[in-house]
């Protein structure tokens, strides 16, 4: 497994753990308030710290296995894989965002739009890393 693939797995783990933490915090607040809660700044801050911590630790462990590869620049194939994965995940983010703002025009809930946009950003980023691994495995 190349360093870029290991990096993608680390980021997928970081995003899933932090996303699950934030989703649970929003769910808990919604259950307590019996309505869609406002943005939770502390919960978001903790989620960002979780991402940073897992990313730093995970990349350090991944680089320890092969420091030479970790320090080497991207080759042509890696660049094309990153571009293609970014292209498709960007399209996914665009579709989610358009659907969500169209839903806002009907539902008119700012809190719902806020949490749904956060979810779409996290999901599109996870999709980008999943696609990166997929293209490394089967070729671009």
């Amino acid at each position: 497994m190349t360093f870029q693939e290991k990096s993608a797995w680390v980021m997928i783990l970081a995003l899933i753990v932090s996303g699950a933490f934030y989703a649970l915090s929003v769910y808990g607040a919604a259950a307590a308030l019996e309505t869609i809660p406002p943005p939770n700044g502390i919960g978001m801050g903790v989620a960002v710290v979780i991402i940073i911590a897992i990313a730093i630790f995970g990349h350090a462990v991944a680089a320890l296995g092969n420091p030479t590869e970790a320090n080497s620049p991207e080759d042509e194939r890696a660049r094309v894989i990153v571009w293609r994965a970014g292209n498709l995940s960007g399209a996914l983010l665009g579709v989610f965002s358009i659907l969500l703002i169209m839903a806002y025009a009907v539902v008119q809930s700012g809190h719902l739009l806020f949490h749904a946009l956060i979810a779409s950003l996290v999901i599109s980023q996870i999709a980008e890393y999943v696609l990166t691994i997929w293209f490394y495995r089967r070729g671009v």
Binding site: P39, W83, N87, L93
Partner: protein, 146 residues
């Protein structure tokens, strides 16, 4: 300038034009109401349709002119080649970052102001700016080595 460059420049122009008209419309309605008005489905859908129609018309016009010109007919007939695909992937991937940054700024605006209408319009603005960035990046990459 190739057929694709002209088409994407026209698309960027269409998004900018429709965005400015829509922003002006919302601004006027908000001045009359004394506060930022909520979005309505009719004007939003009209905004999207105007962009799609203008962009499609531009591509059709440029394609028909290129097809009748012996020097550039191959651009249209050959369609999307490997270089076009690579440029598309690069431009879209980088524009994704622009859109994501804009959406994060929209979320920050909601945290500060607490207004769903502000979140809606800033998110829409982020999407439009991302689309314009994608079109301009495509033209930029067509004109430099990748």
């Amino acid at each position: 300038m190739s057929f694709w460059e002209k088409g994407y420049l026209a698309t960027a122009g269409a998004v900018l034009f429709a965005g400015c008209v829509y922003a002006y419309l919302i601004w006027q309605r908000s001045l009359a109401a004394g506060a930022l008005v909520a979005p309505d489905a009719v004007s939003f859908v009209t905004y999207v349709i105007v962009i799609v129609v203008l962009s499609a018309l531009a591509f059709i016009l440029f394609a028909s002119r290129a097809a009748t010109n012996p020097e550039s007919a191959d651009d249209v007939v050959d369609g999307y080649d490997e270089r076009d695909k690579l440029i598309g992937h690069m431009a879209n991937a980088k524009a994704h970052h622009v859109t994501s940054f804009g959406l994060y700024m929209a979320l920050l605006a909601f945290i500060v102001h607490g207004s769903g209408n502000i979140l809606f319009y800033t998110a829409l603005g982020a999407l439009a700016i991302g689309e314009i960035a994608m079109c301009l990046l495509r033209v930029y990459f067509y004109n430099r080595a990748i």
